[in-house]
């Protein structure tokens, strides 16, 4: 008889303990929900979020599935509704799946922002978008031009020549290429998202184009694939390797001087911006139709429609790659 009662009291006390600081201080409570909480990418996000939360004086809850589990994300949203958080910031594992739970939260007066991966537009107020296709395409092309002093032949390795996002990036790369008249794109080759195939493609590209100076990979597995090909050909430094990818998959080649730069957004900043957006939304400072958002030390960000754009992608290279472990 006694035990359930004791347990109930304990739970109640614990709940009160959790809730009271928030109630007492009237502090904002923001729930940050990643796709997977053990993933280095989201852990890096959290570092930035913690920093922003400290600056803003808000309470930050960080929870997520241990694997990328859409159902578990819904469960956490339900829990946070019960707990009465002010804002939920979520990287949606399943666009449709999470939206039902998010709409329910909205009906309870909880504000929603998404980051990294969007939910349905009606299930959130703003999406903190890490990078636009234009931002990615231009950055890749600019970085290639910088490494080659704006002169020479380069080749591109894609996932498939027909994939939507890849075509979109290619379009912007080609657009930017016009700025560099002495650079020439000699080939675009598919890798099917396979590192090993990218390696074969890069090997053949180098042998067919003796003047090739750089290989640009626009899908992440192709960056280490191209790097391995360059290494095996003994052309490290002579044929430069850049691409869109994760620091952890390229660290070794960057240290060996095979890969020059890996481009991705700075996840820490993504987490930081997300919390600033969430807090501004809860305080009523960020309203639909807003054109800009000020986010602490990172400055002012543009808003396109309901997308808050993080902006220029970040370049990982030998100097900084060890600071990032995703």
């Amino acid at each position: 008889m006694k035990t359930p009662f004791l347990r109930f009291t304990a739970v109640l006390a614990a709940l009160f303990a959790v809730l009271s600081p928030a109630l007492a201080a009237d502090k904002l409570m923001i729930g940050l929900l990643p796709k997977s909480k053990g993933n280095g990418y989201f852990i890096a996000c959290k570092v930035g979020s913690d920093k922003a939360a400290k600056e803003l004086g808000v309470d930050l809850l960080f929870d997520g599935p241990t694997d990328s589990n859409a159902a578990k994300q819904n469960e956490i949203v339900e829990n946070w509704i019960t707990l009465g958080v002010d804002v939920i910031a979520v990287a949606a594992e399943n666009k449709e799946g999470i939206s039902t739970a998010l709409r329910k939260a909205q009906r309870q007066g909880i504000k929603i922002v998404t980051f990294d991966a969007d939910a349905m537009p009606d299930a959130r107020s703003f999406f903190v978008n890490q990078a636009t296709p234009e931002g990615i395409g231009y950055k890749l092309m600019d970085e290639a031009a910088r490494l080659l002093n704006e002169e020479g032949e380069f080749a591109v390795i894609t996932a498939t020549v027909t994939a939507g996002n890849q075509r979109e990036w290619m379009k912007h790369i080609e657009e930017r290429l016009k700025k560099y008249p002495k650079m020439k794109m000699v080939a675009v080759r598919p890798s099917d998202d396979l590192k090993d195939k990218a390696q074969s493609e890069a090997t053949a590209l180098m042998s067919a184009n003796p003047n090739l100076k750089l290989i640009m990979s626009i899908c992440s597995p192709a960056v280490p694939g191209a790097a391995e090909a360059v290494k095996q050909a003994g052309k490290a430094g002579k044929v430069k390797v850049i691409g869109l990818g994760l620091p952890s998959e390229n660290r070794r080649y960057v240290h060996d001087g095979v890969t020059d730069s890996v481009i991705l957004w700075k996840t820490e900043d993504l987490g930081y911006l997300t919390i600033y957006a969430a807090a501004a939304l809860a305080k009523g400072e960020l309203k639909p139709g807003a054109k800009t958002l000020k986010a602490g030390t990172l400055g002012t960000f543009q808003i396109t429609g309901d997308n808050i754009v993080l902006g220029t992608p970040f370049v990982f290279n030998k100097a900084n790659i060890d600071q990032f472990n995703f």
Binding site: V161, K195, S200, M206, S207, A208
Partner: protein
């Protein structure tokens, strides 16, 4: 001569391609890139040999790509945990054989159609691996790449192992009783049974061998780079089935040999680099490979209507 018409015509096509490259793009012939490309295809050759056995037996295994990934990641995790390579390689073979045995029990034991069983296996293994690995690369310690040898030695070793294995399997298929079992089961399982062969046992063993070869191929892939991508091996099933069919192994079983498979794989593998050298757009690559496969199947069906050469049925 007529008996090897198919194999010779594939070899002829390969010869024509190589001749065209010599004339139009002599840059194709550079030792280092060719050796690197050959090394990359070595694991594929090993899997193709296994697939040839399976198809000769009148079965199919579309789970080899997923098996390859599972074996590769498992071997990679072991190597990352500093397990020595002389244990990692047999372990990869063992895991492959085990997966093959599961296929074998379901197909030979329960008489389920191999396309359905291996389709289920393909999806299950791939999704299981995705759940476990989340697409994260396995980084390997130093000394795994090229078995700790120099790059040149390692590449030659990998290629030599794959070719030697093909030759040995090819000889075994012709000379050993077990090899003749494979042809007999694939030609006519009932007749084979009446002749004292056990088709179920034979089919089961062929799937075990298929798995073991896939595991070994994954190990040969592991030693080629300092990291393993969990997605590696995806699409491998189509590549090897294409090589086997182009190489003249009849999809209806019982006819074909490994020499043809070897040449078929070379032909298909040469197309992508050849197109790069000839500066033909990537869009054409799959179309050309598809056409070659279609040609192979069509010539098979035409030949299939002609009376069989008695020597071919072994």
């Amino acid at each position: 001569m007529n008996r090897y018409l198919r194999e010779l015509s594939v070899a002829g096509a390969l010869g024509l391609l190589l001749l065209a490259m010599a004339i139009f793009a002599p840059g194709f012939y550079q030792p280092q890139p060719l050796l690197s490309l050959a090394t990359r295809e070595a694991p594929t050759l090993v899997v193709a040999c296994g697939m040839a056995l399976v198809i000769l037996c009148r079965q199919i295994d579309i789970s080899v790509g997923s098996q390859f990934s599972v074996c590769g990641v498992a071997a990679g995790l072991m190597a990352a945990a500093k397990v020595p390579l002389f244990l990692v390689v047999p372990a990869a073979i063992g895991i492959g054989a085990l997966l093959g045995a599961i296929n074998g029990v379901l197909i030979a034991g329960l008489q389920l159609p191999s396309i359905v069983v291996t389709l289920a296996m393909m999806v299950t293994l791939r999704q299981g691996l995705n759940l476990q690995q989340q697409g994260v690369f396995v980084n390997l310690p130093d000394g795994v790449q090229w078995f700790g040898l120099s790059q040149l030695q390692g590449q030659w070793l990998v290629v030599a192992i794959a070719v030697l294995l093909t030759v040995l399997l090819g000889l075994a298929l012709r000379r050993l009783t077990a090899g003749r079992w494979v042809y007999a089961i694939g030609s006519d399982a009932e007749a084979a049974r009446l002749a004292g062969i056990r088709p179920q046992l034979g089919t089961f063993l062929v799937f075990v061998v298929m798995g073991a070869l896939t595991g070994f191929a994954a190990a040969l892939n592991l030693v080629q780079a300092p990291q393993v991508q969990p997605l590696s091996g995806s699409g491998l099933e189509l590549k090897v089935i294409a090589a086997v069919v182009v190489g003249g192994v009849a999809i209806s079983g019982g006819r074909g040999n490994l020499w043809g498979v070897f040449v078929g794989l070379l032909l298909l593998a040469a197309i992508a680099p050849a197109l790069i050298h000839l500066r033909i757009e990537a869009y054409w690559e799959k179309a050309i490979q598809g056409t070659i496969i279609l040609l192979a199947v069509v010539t098979d069906s035409i030949r299939g209507r002609a009376p069989k050469h008695p020597a071919r049925s072994h």
